[in-house]
Assembly symmetry: D2
């Protein structure tokens, strides 16, 4: 009985401020957009609160590894769908699959695998994923 | 018979990527946010299309003057309301009053007067505000 | 016997990442550049250390007011000179005059008056300019 | 007779505007810094001119793939050395190895492999690396 893993997604307009002199997304801006998606996921998908996690609980979520493939350009004025799927939930790390797809043409613009670790913002050292965070992520459904 | 001038506004979350090491909005980021508000106004308020205006019609909307007052800080996780009001519609210039207010506490965070001119993106010289743009802005209601 | 007030300046290349789809500096980026100039001034001009001031001493330097005039565009690949002059040194505020000038053509691109206050980063409230900071700024020469 | 492949490098200060609320480099900013390094390499290392390449010759240099490992944090006020080495020069692609190392402590902060393709900015399609660009890159010395 197979099940599609749950995906968290948000639509976003490609803005003037996202674009470079070629009129297309300046590629570091994709990572800013995906950081916003993870923020929305913590706020609206997991119910953990991104601000609460980072500022109040002082849990850092630094990226330790990423691999990104840029397949097609996104231009100013495009609406894209950003999506996120949990690939692996480790002891103190989380591997995400992220995608940016054109909302109108369904073309894949960019895809990324990102490994995030949970750290203490006081020591900048890795720490176990807190139990409530692990539960919230697991509740999202079966992971492959 | 006085009338309140119409205001275009959008709510926005203050994100991790908007903030500086003090945990509050890095002030140049307010101008990025307001640029996004003007974009939304062109798209949704005026129906002119920001991308159509800038890319297809090659009309530039550079800022020639701005005055900004920063009244209170906005912190990561805050929801703010960004609003825009036309103060003056000139021959080739547009003066806007922009405000950022905390959505929960209604406190004024930042206010700005911005003078934008319409230019040709081919020559970077000022040009008359096109008739359809003038009409769309005027339809928004009485200007002071 | 008049004296020219001392000016702190740095040259800077207008980079791809500073520019927008029109191929010119996206205006909020001027404020990022000027923030860097103030940083260099604290490090190299005043000898106070920007990082030491903000992180170790937890002194905030928020902008409370700015007025900017954009006179001519700066394009990708241009070298510009950014300069800074102290207009007024108050009890807990500092008024700066900042300019961006093309290095080749000496044309004025942008000018800004910026009022900065010194705050405690713990309370976000204004505080007196510390004595060593006042002395360092005063040593820079006569202020108008 | 082995030879060390030539490396192009530049030192850079980690600025306030590079950092996030945790006081460390916001990771997308590494890509902005490396974009600046490639710019300097085109201008000063290869003598091709980045602005000339992108704006005048309308040659795009989009990233099609990147892999990045974040090893240690960089904090505001750190001086880092950014370096670049050509790993492979293909028909229409260029693979770079990029590194960010602390200048004081020599600790590796971040490393990235980046595949760039040359495209026409008119069609956004891949094109052969122009002969003068290939010659300039090859003159840099033997590639592994």
């Amino acid at each position: 009985m197979s099940q599609t893993p749950p995906v968290f997604s948000r639509d976003r307009l490609i803005r003037f401020s996202d674009c470079d002199p070629a009129g297309i997304v300046f590629y570091p801006q994709y990572f800013v957009m995906f950081n916003g998606l993870v923020e929305d996921w913590f706020n609206e998908g997991l119910g953990l609160g991104y601000q609460r996690t980072v500022i109040e609980r002082r849990i850092g979520l630094p990226t330790v590894r990423l691999e990104a493939d840029f397949k097609a350009v996104s231009a100013m004025g495009d609406w894209v769908t950003l999506s996120l799927e949990v690939e692996r939930l480790g002891g103190s790390s989380l591997t995400l699959q992220l995608r940016c797809v054109g909302r109108e043409d369904a073309s894949l613009r960019m895809t990324m695998r990102q490994v995030i670790v949970t750290t203490s913002l006081d020591t900048h050292r890795a720490m176990e994923i807190p139990a409530d965070m692990r539960a919230a992520i697991s509740r999202q459904g079966p992971q492959r």
